[in-house]
């Protein structure tokens, strides 16, 4: 039996007709001690089967250590959505529930190598010249979360210095504890800056730029 119901498959297949460039889904998994690893692997393969433009690669997190390191994967299940290069668009934990929308959006944008971010936003993040790591904590029952995840992923697509992760809270309780997540979406930038709630594009970008400037100043001083 497939994870995706027939009607969802049909809808996704239809939406994938608009894909233009090749997309590769890179999944890191293992068989034990991982709640949704098996399902994430199956989801990866099912999605790939819905369009000739999408291929998938499955790696074992422990056995394929070199690849895991190359992709800087530190936890599983992990799913990287890449196109002609690796943009740093990643999902940790299964992109199920509402987050399925974030996965489909990421595939769509990566395939077209373009986002619908405003020129102003692109201009601002074009100035970023140091690594920025955005983590968006979600629950699968949160209807506001996909907009935050998708925004972060768009920024990653537009800037080679930005890496963006969806982090599914139930799968990674140690991170929930570490960062004190008690409400979602929670957006963390470079581990120290962050905000709660889904912000509109311009405010989201401003937060990222603020974090970038603070990190930059700190680095410049040291």
């Amino acid at each position: 039996m497939t994870l995706l119901k027939d009607e969802v498959q049909n809808e996704v297949r239809e939406r994938f007709k608009k894909l233009t460039g090749q997309v590769r889904l890179v999944n890191f998994t293992q068989k034990i001690e991982c709640h949704y690893c098996e399902e994430t692997r199956r989801l990866t393969e099912e999605i790939a089967s819905l369009s000739p433009k999408i291929s998938s690669r499955i790696y074992n997190f422990a056995l394929d250590k070199e690849v895991s390191q190359q992709y800087k994967i530190d936890k599983i299940p992990a799913l990287v959505v890449e196109g002609e290069r690796n943009y740093g668009i990643r999902f940790f934990g299964i992109p199920g529930g509402y987050e399925f929308n974030s996965l489909i959006s990421a595939i769509y944008d990566v395939s077209r190598k373009a986002t619908d971010l405003s020129l102003e936003s692109k201009d601002k993040i074009g100035k970023i010249d140091r690594p920025i790591h955005i983590q968006v904590f979600v629950t699968l029952t949160c209807p506001y979360c996909p907009s935050a995840v998708t925004m972060a992923h768009k920024l990653a697509l537009e800037s080679e210095h930005i890496t963006s992760d969806m982090v599914e809270s139930a799968e990674f309780p140690h991170l929930v504890n570490k960062y004190g997540v008690m409400g979602v979406p929670k957006v963390l930038i470079n581990e120290e800056f962050g905000f709660e709630g889904a912000l509109p594009e311009s405010s989201f970008v401003d937060e990222v730029m603020r974090a970038y400037k603070s990190t930059k100043e700190a680095k410049d001083k040291s």
Binding site: T139, V176, M182
Partner: protein, 324 residues
């Protein structure tokens, strides 16, 4: 929890045209705004729908059992059905945009969004709905995302094994309790009124739960905590002694406030901040209409909002005919 995969209906829609003067601008994409859009499209009005999201409060409604045609449907599924219907019509949409200001010059209305966009129209339907009301007590704002939450479907999972309070006495408060009894060892239900406003079926179900302690006729005075919520202080309305409850989560479900601020300088509001309308959705300004929860119409229900949205467009249509 069963693993499911939700695909929100989405289609690439033409976005708003700044150079055009639309026949109709609809502010808000909940049941009222979406229904208004469908009626407008069927009347072939040049229409722009501007909204933060499509679905509004229904997006966070777990279950709907009183919308005709469905004995039971999840809120998000109903939203998908609405979206599907809207997507059949060529309506310009600006989704993700919040309206910050509404103004009028001669016969043309202008709306300005937070991101700086401006659109113009000959008529406007305000269907911007309501948002969660806050308690306005010390500690509340500071502790949002640190134990204070307004979205129980989003955040309940973080409170497994933790003691929590639910504030409110209506359906949403009782539904939050219903979610939380599965995971929380102790739940305090605090409400300012002496009788519960939730549906009797729901109240009976919760009253059987031993984990729940009820504090009717109590007011929340303060939410305590440094980095996270550590407790709340409540006091009885009739002047008894205040109590300090130690807990880690506060779910605030005390109703809603209308999203009418942007129209305040133009239109008459009632004491609750709702836009005053007559039974044909007219406001005090000709060409400006309001529908659904943001308006003064009694009863905030999905089915009522849909009906109001339909009426508002038909009234706006009559108004436009007279302009021509």
């Amino acid at each position: 929890m069963e693993l499911d995969f939700i695909l929100s209906k989405e289609e690439e829609k033409p976005t708003g045209k700044t150079e055009l003067i639309y026949d109709l601008l609809i502010i808000g994409g909940g049941p009222a705004g979406m229904t208004a859009a469908i009626y407008a499209a069927r009347k072939r009005l040049a229409t722009l729908l501007v909204s933060k999201d499509l679905g509004g409060q229904v997006l966070v409604t777990a279950e709907v059992e009183n919308y005709m045609g469905y004995q039971y449907i999840e809120g998000r599924e109903l939203v998908n059905k609405f979206k599907e219907q809207v997507s059949r019509f060529p309506i310009d949409q600006e989704i993700g945009e919040e309206v910050e200001e509404l103004s009028q010059e001669k016969d043309v209305f202008s709306i300005f969004t937070k991101s700086g966009k401006k659109f113009r129209g000959r008529t406007v339907i305000i269907a911007s709905g309501k948002r969660s009301r806050s308690l306005n007590v010390s500690g509340e704002e500071r502790l949002i995302g640190r134990g204070v939450t307004y979205c129980s479907v989003c955040d309940a999972p973080f409170f497994e094994g933790r003691e929590v309070a639910v504030i409110g006495g209506g359906n949403s408060a009782f539904e939050a309790v219903l979610d939380l009894v599965k995971i929380s060892p102790k739940i305090y239900l605090v409400d300012i009124a002496s009788t519960w406003r939730a549906d009797t079926v729901l109240v009976k179900q919760i009253e059987k739960e031993k984990k729940v302690t009820f504090f009717p006729r109590h007011r929340v005075k303060e939410i305590k905590g440094k980095e996270r919520v550590e407790g709340i202080i409540i006091e009885p309305l009739d002047g008894g002694e205040e109590k300090s409850l130690s807990l880690e989560g506060v779910f605030i479900e005390i109703g809603l406030v209308p999203n009418s601020e942007f129209s305040r300088s133009l239109v008459n509001l009632n004491e609750a901040g709702e836009i005053v309308v007559d039974c044909s959705n007219h406001t005090n300004i000709p060409g400006l209409f309001a529908a659904g929860d943001v308006s003064s119409v009694p009863e905030k229900q999905i089915i009522v909002a849909c009906g109001e949205g339909a009426k508002a467009t038909l009234t706006a249509y009559q108004y436009l005919l007279r302009l021509r």
